[in-house]
Symmetry: C2
Subunit: 182 residues, 2 copies
DNA sequence: CTTCGTCGGTTAGCCCCCTAACTATAAGGG
DNA sequence: CCCTTATAGTTAGGGGGCTAACCGACGAAG
Protein backbone atom coordinates (compact mmCIF):
# COMPACT_ATOMS: atom_id res chain seq x y z
CA UNK A 1 0.00 0.00 0.00
CA UNK A 2 2.24 2.75 -1.28
CA UNK A 3 2.02 6.22 0.15
CA UNK A 4 4.01 7.58 -2.76
CA UNK A 5 2.89 6.02 -5.98
CA UNK A 6 6.18 6.65 -7.72
CA UNK A 7 8.95 4.14 -7.46
CA UNK A 8 11.79 6.23 -8.85
CA UNK A 9 11.98 9.82 -7.79
CA UNK A 10 12.55 12.54 -10.38
CA UNK A 11 15.98 14.09 -10.62
CA UNK A 12 16.60 17.46 -9.15
CA UNK A 13 17.16 18.96 -12.60
CA UNK A 14 13.70 17.79 -13.59
CA UNK A 15 12.22 19.58 -10.61
CA UNK A 16 14.11 22.73 -11.49
CA UNK A 17 12.88 22.55 -15.07
CA UNK A 18 9.31 22.16 -13.91
CA UNK A 19 9.77 25.00 -11.45
CA UNK A 20 10.50 27.36 -14.33
CA UNK A 21 7.08 26.44 -15.71
CA UNK A 22 5.31 26.47 -12.33
CA UNK A 23 6.57 29.20 -10.02
CA UNK A 24 4.67 27.57 -7.11
CA UNK A 25 7.06 24.64 -7.20
CA UNK A 26 9.91 24.83 -4.71
CA UNK A 27 12.49 22.31 -5.97
CA UNK A 28 14.33 21.70 -2.71
CA UNK A 29 11.08 21.36 -0.76
CA UNK A 30 9.55 19.03 -3.30
CA UNK A 31 12.71 16.96 -3.44
CA UNK A 32 12.73 16.54 0.34
CA UNK A 33 9.01 15.88 0.34
CA UNK A 34 9.29 13.08 -2.19
CA UNK A 35 12.35 11.54 -0.55
CA UNK A 36 10.61 11.51 2.79
CA UNK A 37 7.52 9.76 1.50
CA UNK A 38 9.62 7.34 -0.49
CA UNK A 39 11.78 6.40 2.51
CA UNK A 40 8.78 6.05 4.80
CA UNK A 41 7.17 3.81 2.25
CA UNK A 42 10.21 1.58 2.26
CA UNK A 43 10.35 1.34 6.03
CA UNK A 44 6.64 0.78 6.33
CA UNK A 45 6.65 -1.99 3.76
CA UNK A 46 9.50 -3.72 5.55
CA UNK A 47 7.64 -3.53 8.83
CA UNK A 48 4.45 -4.78 7.27
CA UNK A 49 6.22 -7.69 5.66
CA UNK A 50 7.97 -8.61 8.89
CA UNK A 51 4.72 -8.58 10.82
CA UNK A 52 2.87 -10.51 8.13
CA UNK A 53 5.19 -13.48 8.65
CA UNK A 54 3.53 -13.74 12.06
CA UNK A 55 0.09 -13.47 10.48
CA UNK A 56 -0.65 -9.98 11.71
CA UNK A 57 -1.05 -6.54 10.17
CA UNK A 58 0.39 -3.22 11.31
CA UNK A 59 -2.93 -1.94 12.58
CA UNK A 60 -3.65 -5.09 14.54
CA UNK A 61 -0.15 -5.06 16.01
CA UNK A 62 -0.55 -1.44 17.09
CA UNK A 63 -3.70 -2.31 19.00
CA UNK A 64 -2.03 -5.25 20.72
CA UNK A 65 0.89 -3.02 21.74
CA UNK A 66 -1.51 -0.51 23.24
CA UNK A 67 -3.10 -3.25 25.28
CA UNK A 68 0.23 -4.62 26.42
CA UNK A 69 1.55 -3.40 29.71
CA UNK A 70 5.23 -3.96 29.33
CA UNK A 71 6.06 -3.38 32.95
CA UNK A 72 4.41 -6.42 34.49
CA UNK A 73 3.48 -8.19 31.30
CA UNK A 74 -0.20 -7.99 32.14
CA UNK A 75 -2.94 -6.68 29.90
CA UNK A 76 -4.24 -3.16 30.28
CA UNK A 77 -7.91 -2.99 29.46
CA UNK A 78 -8.95 0.00 27.44
CA UNK A 79 -12.04 1.10 25.63
CA UNK A 80 -12.25 1.16 21.83
CA UNK A 81 -12.56 4.93 21.93
CA UNK A 82 -9.29 5.25 23.88
CA UNK A 83 -7.57 2.87 21.51
CA UNK A 84 -8.82 4.82 18.51
CA UNK A 85 -7.61 8.04 20.09
CA UNK A 86 -4.01 6.96 20.68
CA UNK A 87 -3.87 5.16 17.35
CA UNK A 88 -5.18 8.13 15.44
CA UNK A 89 -8.02 6.32 13.67
CA UNK A 90 -11.78 6.67 13.87
CA UNK A 91 -13.91 4.67 16.27
CA UNK A 92 -15.47 2.91 13.31
CA UNK A 93 -12.06 1.72 12.17
CA UNK A 94 -11.25 0.51 15.67
CA UNK A 95 -14.45 -1.49 15.71
CA UNK A 96 -13.23 -3.35 12.63
CA UNK A 97 -9.76 -3.91 14.05
CA UNK A 98 -11.07 -5.26 17.34
CA UNK A 99 -13.52 -7.42 15.39
CA UNK A 100 -10.76 -9.24 13.53
CA UNK A 101 -8.54 -9.42 16.62
CA UNK A 102 -11.38 -10.96 18.60
CA UNK A 103 -12.17 -13.35 15.77
CA UNK A 104 -8.55 -14.51 15.87
CA UNK A 105 -8.69 -14.94 19.65
CA UNK A 106 -6.02 -12.32 20.40
CA UNK A 107 -8.35 -9.97 22.21
CA UNK A 108 -11.56 -10.18 24.22
CA UNK A 109 -14.40 -7.66 24.54
CA UNK A 110 -16.11 -7.20 27.89
CA UNK A 111 -18.78 -4.73 28.90
CA UNK A 112 -17.50 -1.95 31.11
CA UNK A 113 -18.92 -2.16 34.63
CA UNK A 114 -19.35 1.56 35.18
CA UNK A 115 -20.92 2.68 31.91
CA UNK A 116 -23.18 0.38 29.96
CA UNK A 117 -22.33 2.17 26.71
CA UNK A 118 -18.67 1.24 26.95
CA UNK A 119 -16.71 -1.92 26.24
CA UNK A 120 -13.28 -2.84 27.56
CA UNK A 121 -10.81 -4.65 25.34
CA UNK A 122 -8.51 -7.20 26.98
CA UNK A 123 -5.46 -8.99 25.64
CA UNK A 124 -5.92 -12.76 25.79
CA UNK A 125 -3.23 -15.24 26.69
CA UNK A 126 -2.97 -16.05 22.99
CA UNK A 127 -2.45 -12.38 22.26
CA UNK A 128 0.34 -12.13 24.81
CA UNK A 129 2.01 -15.19 23.33
CA UNK A 130 1.85 -13.67 19.87
CA UNK A 131 3.47 -10.45 21.09
CA UNK A 132 6.22 -12.44 22.80
CA UNK A 133 6.97 -14.13 19.48
CA UNK A 134 6.78 -10.96 17.41
CA UNK A 135 8.53 -8.35 19.53
CA UNK A 136 12.20 -9.40 19.25
CA UNK A 137 12.22 -9.53 15.46
CA UNK A 138 10.16 -6.38 15.31
CA UNK A 139 12.60 -4.50 17.53
CA UNK A 140 15.49 -5.82 15.50
CA UNK A 141 13.96 -4.54 12.28
CA UNK A 142 14.35 -0.82 13.01
CA UNK A 143 18.01 -1.37 13.80
CA UNK A 144 18.59 -3.15 10.53
CA UNK A 145 16.77 -0.57 8.45
CA UNK A 146 18.56 2.36 10.05
CA UNK A 147 21.94 0.63 9.96
CA UNK A 148 23.23 2.84 7.10
CA UNK A 149 23.07 5.85 9.43
CA UNK A 150 25.47 6.60 12.26
CA UNK A 151 24.26 7.63 15.68
CA UNK A 152 25.10 11.22 14.81
CA UNK A 153 23.16 11.04 11.55
CA UNK A 154 20.15 9.50 13.30
CA UNK A 155 20.08 12.35 15.77
CA UNK A 156 20.29 14.85 12.93
CA UNK A 157 17.48 13.09 11.10
CA UNK A 158 15.24 13.10 14.16
CA UNK A 159 15.97 16.76 14.76
CA UNK A 160 15.03 17.71 11.18
CA UNK A 161 11.90 15.58 11.22
CA UNK A 162 10.85 17.06 14.55
CA UNK A 163 10.96 20.51 12.95
CA UNK A 164 8.44 19.34 10.39
CA UNK A 165 5.98 17.93 12.94
CA UNK A 166 6.30 20.37 15.80
CA UNK A 167 3.67 19.40 18.36
CA UNK A 168 3.52 15.70 17.74
CA UNK A 169 5.79 14.53 20.52
CA UNK A 170 4.26 14.08 23.94
CA UNK A 171 5.00 17.41 25.60
CA UNK A 172 4.34 16.31 29.15
CA UNK A 173 6.70 13.45 29.65
CA UNK A 174 4.44 11.62 32.03
CA UNK A 175 3.17 8.16 31.45
CA UNK A 176 6.50 7.04 30.11
CA UNK A 177 6.29 3.44 31.15
CA UNK A 178 2.90 2.78 29.68
CA UNK A 179 3.62 4.18 26.22
CA UNK A 180 3.86 1.66 23.46
CA UNK A 181 5.84 1.74 20.26
CA UNK A 182 4.45 -0.12 17.31
CA UNK B 1 -4.87 5.91 6.51
CA UNK B 2 -2.09 6.13 9.01
CA UNK B 3 1.23 4.50 8.40
CA UNK B 4 2.15 4.80 12.03
CA UNK B 5 -0.79 4.11 14.27
CA UNK B 6 0.59 6.11 17.16
CA UNK B 7 -0.09 9.78 17.39
CA UNK B 8 2.42 10.67 20.08
CA UNK B 9 5.83 9.12 19.89
CA UNK B 10 7.42 7.60 22.98
CA UNK B 11 10.15 9.54 24.68
CA UNK B 12 13.72 8.52 24.21
CA UNK B 13 14.02 7.51 27.87
CA UNK B 14 11.14 5.11 27.37
CA UNK B 15 12.94 3.50 24.45
CA UNK B 16 16.09 3.18 26.53
CA UNK B 17 14.14 1.59 29.35
CA UNK B 18 12.58 -0.89 26.99
CA UNK B 19 15.97 -1.59 25.43
CA UNK B 20 17.24 -2.82 28.79
CA UNK B 21 14.46 -5.39 28.70
CA UNK B 22 14.82 -6.21 24.99
CA UNK B 23 18.44 -6.20 23.83
CA UNK B 24 17.25 -6.32 20.21
CA UNK B 25 15.90 -2.79 20.54
CA UNK B 26 18.24 -0.08 19.27
CA UNK B 27 16.93 3.16 20.81
CA UNK B 28 18.39 5.62 18.33
CA UNK B 29 17.31 3.53 15.36
CA UNK B 30 13.80 3.03 16.72
CA UNK B 31 13.51 6.70 17.52
CA UNK B 32 14.49 7.68 13.98
CA UNK B 33 12.25 4.99 12.58
CA UNK B 34 9.21 6.25 14.45
CA UNK B 35 9.91 9.89 13.70
CA UNK B 36 10.25 9.12 10.01
CA UNK B 37 6.95 7.28 9.80
CA UNK B 38 5.22 9.92 11.86
CA UNK B 39 6.49 12.79 9.70
CA UNK B 40 5.63 10.97 6.49
CA UNK B 41 2.16 10.35 7.82
CA UNK B 42 1.72 14.04 8.45
CA UNK B 43 2.91 15.01 4.98
CA UNK B 44 0.85 12.34 3.31
CA UNK B 45 -2.32 13.32 5.14
CA UNK B 46 -1.82 16.95 4.17
CA UNK B 47 -1.36 15.99 0.55
CA UNK B 48 -4.39 13.71 0.61
CA UNK B 49 -6.52 16.42 2.14
CA UNK B 50 -5.36 19.00 -0.38
CA UNK B 51 -6.17 16.69 -3.27
CA UNK B 52 -9.51 15.69 -1.82
CA UNK B 53 -10.71 19.28 -2.05
CA UNK B 54 -10.52 18.74 -5.80
CA UNK B 55 -12.42 15.48 -5.49
CA UNK B 56 -9.48 13.22 -6.24
CA UNK B 57 -7.38 10.73 -4.30
CA UNK B 58 -3.59 10.36 -4.23
CA UNK B 59 -3.63 7.20 -6.28
CA UNK B 60 -5.86 8.68 -8.95
CA UNK B 61 -3.74 11.83 -9.07
CA UNK B 62 -0.58 9.77 -9.50
CA UNK B 63 -2.08 8.04 -12.51
CA UNK B 64 -3.12 11.34 -14.06
CA UNK B 65 0.39 12.71 -13.55
CA UNK B 66 1.85 9.71 -15.28
CA UNK B 67 -0.40 10.30 -18.24
CA UNK B 68 0.38 13.98 -18.38
CA UNK B 69 3.08 15.08 -20.73
CA UNK B 70 4.21 18.31 -19.21
CA UNK B 71 6.33 19.37 -22.19
CA UNK B 72 3.59 19.98 -24.69
CA UNK B 73 0.62 19.58 -22.41
CA UNK B 74 -0.64 16.64 -24.44
CA UNK B 75 -1.61 13.23 -23.10
CA UNK B 76 0.85 10.35 -23.24
CA UNK B 77 -0.99 7.10 -23.73
CA UNK B 78 0.33 4.22 -21.68
CA UNK B 79 -0.80 0.72 -20.89
CA UNK B 80 -2.16 -0.23 -17.47
CA UNK B 81 0.84 -2.51 -16.95
CA UNK B 82 3.25 0.39 -17.53
CA UNK B 83 1.28 2.61 -15.20
CA UNK B 84 1.29 -0.06 -12.51
CA UNK B 85 5.02 -0.50 -12.92
CA UNK B 86 5.98 3.12 -12.42
CA UNK B 87 3.43 3.57 -9.66
CA UNK B 88 4.62 0.50 -7.80
CA UNK B 89 1.23 -1.19 -7.53
CA UNK B 90 -0.14 -4.41 -8.98
CA UNK B 91 -1.93 -4.58 -12.29
CA UNK B 92 -5.10 -5.51 -10.45
CA UNK B 93 -4.90 -2.31 -8.44
CA UNK B 94 -4.34 -0.29 -11.58
CA UNK B 95 -7.44 -1.83 -13.10
CA UNK B 96 -9.46 -0.45 -10.21
CA UNK B 97 -7.86 2.97 -10.40
CA UNK B 98 -8.42 3.29 -14.13
CA UNK B 99 -11.98 2.05 -13.61
CA UNK B 100 -12.85 4.91 -11.29
CA UNK B 101 -10.94 7.44 -13.37
CA UNK B 102 -12.80 6.35 -16.48
CA UNK B 103 -16.11 6.40 -14.62
CA UNK B 104 -15.38 10.03 -13.66
CA UNK B 105 -14.48 10.89 -17.24
CA UNK B 106 -10.87 11.82 -16.50
CA UNK B 107 -9.39 9.02 -18.55
CA UNK B 108 -10.33 6.90 -21.55
CA UNK B 109 -9.43 3.29 -22.34
CA UNK B 110 -8.73 2.32 -25.93
CA UNK B 111 -7.58 -1.00 -27.33
CA UNK B 112 -3.95 -1.05 -28.42
CA UNK B 113 -3.59 -1.41 -32.17
CA UNK B 114 -0.54 -3.69 -32.12
CA UNK B 115 -1.48 -6.20 -29.44
CA UNK B 116 -5.06 -7.18 -28.86
CA UNK B 117 -4.32 -8.06 -25.25
CA UNK B 118 -3.30 -4.53 -24.38
CA UNK B 119 -5.20 -1.37 -23.66
CA UNK B 120 -3.96 2.21 -23.84
CA UNK B 121 -5.06 4.76 -21.27
CA UNK B 122 -5.55 8.34 -22.45
CA UNK B 123 -6.08 11.52 -20.50
CA UNK B 124 -9.34 13.21 -21.51
CA UNK B 125 -9.82 16.94 -21.86
CA UNK B 126 -11.65 16.84 -18.54
CA UNK B 127 -8.64 15.13 -16.97
CA UNK B 128 -6.30 17.81 -18.31
CA UNK B 129 -8.55 20.53 -16.95
CA UNK B 130 -8.56 18.89 -13.53
CA UNK B 131 -4.77 18.72 -13.49
CA UNK B 132 -4.55 22.36 -14.48
CA UNK B 133 -6.73 23.24 -11.51
CA UNK B 134 -4.92 20.96 -9.06
CA UNK B 135 -1.26 21.41 -9.89
CA UNK B 136 -0.53 24.91 -8.56
CA UNK B 137 -1.92 24.25 -5.10
CA UNK B 138 -0.32 20.84 -5.09
CA UNK B 139 3.08 22.24 -5.92
CA UNK B 140 2.64 24.93 -3.31
CA UNK B 141 1.88 22.34 -0.63
CA UNK B 142 5.36 20.81 -0.46
CA UNK B 143 6.86 24.25 -0.02
CA UNK B 144 4.54 25.06 2.85
CA UNK B 145 5.09 21.77 4.62
CA UNK B 146 8.87 21.98 4.32
CA UNK B 147 8.96 25.65 5.24
CA UNK B 148 10.39 24.95 8.73
CA UNK B 149 13.59 23.65 7.11
CA UNK B 150 16.26 25.78 5.49
CA UNK B 151 17.75 24.91 2.12
CA UNK B 152 20.76 23.48 3.90
CA UNK B 153 18.61 21.35 6.18
CA UNK B 154 16.59 20.06 3.27
CA UNK B 155 19.73 18.96 1.51
CA UNK B 156 20.90 17.21 4.68
CA UNK B 157 17.55 15.50 5.04
CA UNK B 158 17.59 14.25 1.47
CA UNK B 159 21.14 13.01 1.88
CA UNK B 160 20.27 11.03 5.01
CA UNK B 161 17.10 9.61 3.50
CA UNK B 162 18.97 8.60 0.39
CA UNK B 163 21.30 6.52 2.55
CA UNK B 164 18.32 4.57 3.80
CA UNK B 165 16.92 3.84 0.36
CA UNK B 166 20.04 3.37 -1.74
CA UNK B 167 18.90 2.23 -5.17
CA UNK B 168 15.58 4.01 -5.38
CA UNK B 169 16.66 7.03 -7.37
CA UNK B 170 16.80 6.69 -11.11
CA UNK B 171 20.47 5.89 -11.73
CA UNK B 172 20.53 6.64 -15.42
CA UNK B 173 19.39 10.21 -15.63
CA UNK B 174 17.67 9.76 -18.93
CA UNK B 175 14.02 10.46 -19.48
CA UNK B 176 14.14 13.56 -17.37
CA UNK B 177 11.43 15.50 -19.11
CA UNK B 178 8.84 12.77 -19.03
CA UNK B 179 9.10 11.95 -15.35
CA UNK B 180 6.19 12.99 -13.21
CA UNK B 181 6.06 13.90 -9.58
CA UNK B 182 2.90 13.23 -7.68
C1' DC C 1 -39.46 12.99 35.84
C1' DT C 2 -39.06 14.19 31.17
C1' DT C 3 -36.50 15.91 27.55
C1' DC C 4 -32.75 16.96 24.92
C1' DG C 5 -28.00 17.10 23.75
C1' DT C 6 -23.88 14.25 23.91
C1' DC C 7 -21.16 10.28 23.70
C1' DG C 8 -19.68 5.11 22.85
C1' DG C 9 -20.09 1.61 19.71
C1' DT C 10 -21.79 -0.37 15.61
C1' DT C 11 -23.37 -0.65 10.82
C1' DA C 12 -23.48 0.41 5.87
C1' DG C 13 -21.27 1.92 1.97
C1' DC C 14 -17.24 3.66 -0.42
C1' DC C 15 -12.13 3.75 -1.77
C1' DC C 16 -7.81 1.60 -2.41
C1' DC C 17 -4.57 -1.85 -1.57
C1' DC C 18 -3.45 -6.93 -1.90
C1' DT C 19 -3.26 -12.12 -3.73
C1' DA C 20 -4.97 -15.76 -6.56
C1' DA C 21 -7.27 -17.34 -10.29
C1' DC C 22 -9.22 -16.70 -14.77
C1' DT C 23 -9.60 -15.34 -19.96
C1' DA C 24 -7.72 -14.07 -24.12
C1' DT C 25 -3.89 -13.19 -26.88
C1' DA C 26 0.88 -13.74 -28.31
C1' DA C 27 4.98 -16.27 -29.26
C1' DG C 28 8.02 -20.11 -29.63
C1' DG C 29 9.16 -25.21 -30.32
C1' DG C 30 8.17 -29.87 -31.62
C1' DC D 1 -0.05 -26.89 -37.19
C1' DC D 2 -0.66 -27.80 -32.49
C1' DC D 3 0.85 -27.36 -27.81
C1' DT D 4 3.06 -25.08 -24.26
C1' DT D 5 4.46 -21.07 -22.03
C1' DA D 6 4.25 -16.24 -21.09
C1' DT D 7 1.87 -11.95 -20.86
C1' DA D 8 -2.16 -8.19 -20.41
C1' DG D 9 -6.08 -7.29 -18.23
C1' DT D 10 -9.85 -8.47 -15.35
C1' DT D 11 -12.44 -10.61 -11.59
C1' DA D 12 -13.29 -12.35 -6.90
C1' DG D 13 -12.46 -12.05 -2.21
C1' DG D 14 -10.23 -10.06 1.79
C1' DG D 15 -8.05 -6.33 4.75
C1' DG D 16 -8.21 -1.91 6.43
C1' DG D 17 -8.89 2.98 6.03
C1' DC D 18 -12.87 6.68 5.76
C1' DT D 19 -17.66 9.22 6.43
C1' DA D 20 -22.44 9.27 7.65
C1' DA D 21 -26.10 7.57 10.06
C1' DC D 22 -27.93 5.04 13.66
C1' DC D 23 -29.07 3.13 18.56
C1' DG D 24 -28.67 2.99 23.34
C1' DA D 25 -27.05 5.03 27.48
C1' DC D 26 -25.60 8.99 30.12
C1' DG D 27 -26.44 13.41 32.19
C1' DA D 28 -27.93 17.95 32.87
C1' DA D 29 -31.63 21.30 32.56
C1' DG D 30 -36.22 22.36 32.95
Amino acid sequence: MPYLMLKKLPHYECLEALARQYPELDPSATDAFLHLLRAADELFSAREQSLSTHGISCGRFAVLMQLWDKQNNRPTPQTPAELAEVAGVTRATMTGLVDTLERDGLVRREPAPTDRRMMTVHLTEQGRELLARVLPSHFRLAGELLAPLTEEERRTLVRLLAKILPAQTDPVGLDLASRSLP
